[in-house]
Amino acid sequence: MARRQPASRQRTVITPEGVALPFVLATRGARAAALLLDLAMIGTAMVVTTMTLLWIAGGVGIGGHEVDVGAPKARAVQALVVIWIIAMFLFRNAWFLFFELGPRGATPGKRILGIRIAARGTERLTTEAVIARNIVRDIELFMPAVFIGGAFAAGSDVDLAGWAAAIWFLLFALFPFFNRDALRCGDVIAGTWVVEASRVRLGEALSVSVPEAQQAFRFTPAELAVYGEFELQTLERVLRDGRGPALGDVADAISRKIGRPFPADAERAFLEAYYLQLRGHLEQGLRLGRRKADKYAA
């Protein structure tokens, strides 16, 4: 049974077929964790690539120091360096792009955290949107490193660059806290958001496991009119994953409320019978256009 999500994170999207689909926005924490995972993976991939290229270079028989101009070996080194620069560029820029364009719409880090990207509103997620949000990521994330690196290279004030980088980074890292949908700048530009990609397993249909004929209990309409949909769904949850004391407590509560005792060790049969008949009762009302939200509703 899915946990109830706070209303502030629930969003509804109307599909082109006109059906409202509920979405739950990913928490900022989950997104940050996914990002860290991705960065760790990218870092590992970069290191592995670098090591592999170094190993190949070593295999060809070239150290870093002796470079004979124009010799085939020097050309080989050049080729390797070019491959390295391109590989680093691709890791940095294409990692997110490649995975988010896939059918899961999630990088490995997001997949682990169970979140994915989606288009805001009713529009479909487009390739352009994914590209846009990831181009902007480059600025949000990697610019501070460029600041500091640039200051080192130019030999200017590294402290100052460090502060500038920190402010820059904070500006973008805090951006998601200042809007309702937890959008980062890239999401704003691309028209996307990040939602939970929850997976639920489908349980048995409850009325199959207990055919009506075998129900030992028959409840009167007056006894069924006590509860509403909210209680019904709570009862469903208890029946689906609760056993032992929870069942007994709930059965006692219902039995007291409707004033009908049940035999010992028959909590489950009692609850199942009550659940099915209550559901039948409420669903009949539903078909006639009468909803009873909970026990307080008229």
């Binding site: 049974m1 899915a2 599909t15 077929e17 059906v19 689909l21 101009v69 050049q78 080729a79 360096v81 070019v82 620069i85 391109i86 560029f89 364009l101 896939g102 059918p103 719409g105 989606a118 479909r124 997620l125 487009t126 390739t127 352009e128 949107a129 590209i131 846009a132 949000r133 181009i135 902007v136 480059d138 600025i139 610019m143 460029v146 290279a153 130019a154 704003v188 530009i189 691309a190 028209g191 929850s198 997976r199 639920v200 397993r201 489908l202 349980g203 249909a205 009325s207 199959v208 055919p211 009506e212 949909e229 019904l232 769904q233 949850r237 559901r279 039948g280 409420l282 669903e283 078909r287």
Partner: protein
């Protein structure tokens, strides 16, 4: 009750395996009407789930053609089942599961239509040019800013040569400083064809230039102002450099030296800056739409341009690393540069690709 079940069997019997007919037999046993509704359709839902699962795993090849063709229909079945179930069923778990399934199928049915490969095909076949044209007047604004930057750079350095050091980044002021002799300046323009490491040079230049233009683009969300500043700042350097070589009568030579890759590179920076301005203007003057909608519409339009910019910068990097050092005379360099300029302009503004891509952008 047996009659509807019989027609149901007739309807679904051809579709499903014995397992499905077992489910239908179970449906007859179910006490609640909403559970019967569910059990009758569960076969189709499960089939949809299996297809979705496979697509999500990236095993497109393992999916039969019938399944792929059935996907949209199954998706619509699930959507309408959901709509009906919401009005008739109080089985929270089934509803939640059905919502989850519909959501996952929705992502696939209405997901990114093209993979990276297909998208690139459409992109080169006219999508790129169309997205550049869509920038409209922002291109002219960016061009005006770049010209202004160049002129400003020239005038600043002409009025006080000390500006030169302020404008040029550290690495560039090796031999190219105010007061350098004509011979030294000539040396920086010609006679480097024996230089090694051209490939590395090109790759590094590309990486650097790509970051600059991505910056010009991404800063657009601050209402385009940083994009404009970046355009001006980068072209003042150009102006200063032109002034320096002009002083020694090397104007044509420096233009040739720059034009080999410069026409491509400056074009790319122009497009990146125009994209940034486009987003900035969309946010500052969203018109009828909300600011967020206007920004995202502009962002998606310009993302295509930015992919193109990165590609142009690869070309520019190659030209800068190889062609400029290998072609050692001004006429040849000018020809290459002009050719690239004409090529890009023609590709963006004259060649329209096929009409289909045109309507999509």
């Amino acid at each position: 009750m047996s009659e509807p079940a019989a027609t149901l069997l007739g309807r679904l019997g051809g579709w499903f395996s014995p397992a499905a007919s077992a489910a239908i037999a179970a449906a007859e046993d179910a006490a609640l009407r909403s559970d019967r509704f569910r059990l009758e359709r569960e076969g189709e839902w499960k089939r949809l789930e299996a297809i979705v699962e496979r697509i999500e795993r990236g095993r497109l090849r393992g999916i039969s053609d019938e399944d792929l063709l059935a996907l949209p229909a199954l998706y619509r079945t699930a959507v309408s089942s959901l709509a009906v179930a919401r009005e008739t069923s109080l089985d929270a778990e089934t509803l939640a599961w059905l919502e989850g399934l519909t959501r996952r199928a929705w992502f696939i049915v209405y997901g990114p239509r093209a993979g990276l490969g297909d998208w690139l095909l459409r992109f080169f076949g006219g999508g790129w040019g169309a997205s550049v044209r869509a920038l409209g007047s922002d291109l002219l604004i960016a061009l005006a800013l770049m010209v202004a930057g160049t002129v400003a750079g020239w005038l600043l350095v002409a009025s006080d040569p000390d500006w030169y050091y302020a404008l040029m980044p550290g690495g560039m002021t090796d031999a190219r400083v105010p007061g350098a002799s004509r011979a030294v300046l000539m040396g920086t323009l010609f006679g480097q064809q024996n230089q090694t490491g051209l490939g590395i040079f090109a790759a590094a230049l590309f990486s650097n230039n790509a970051q600059v233009s991505i910056l010009a683009f991404a800063l657009g969300f601050a209402f385009g102002l940083p994009s404009a500043l970046l355009l001006i700042h980068n072209t003042t350097m150009l102006g200063a450099l032109l002034w320096l070589y002009h002083g020694q009568g090397l104007t044509i030579e420096i233009i040739g030296w720059l034009s080999v890759h410069g026409t491509t590179e400056l074009y790319a920076i122009l497009l990146a800056g125009a994209s940034g301005l486009h987003i900035g203007r969309a946010m500052a003057f969203p018109g009828e739409a909300s600011v967020l909608d206007a920004a995202s519409a502009a962002g998606r339009r310009t993302a295509q341009v930015m992919v193109g910019v990165v590609l142009m910068l690869i070309v520019a990097g190659l030209l800068e690393g190889f062609a400029r050092q290998l072609i050692n005379n001004t006429a040849g360099r000018l020809i290459v540069g002009t050719f690239m300029l004409v090529f890009w302009t023609g590709y963006f503004f004259i060649w329209r690709g096929n009409a289909k891509t045109e309507t999509r952008v």
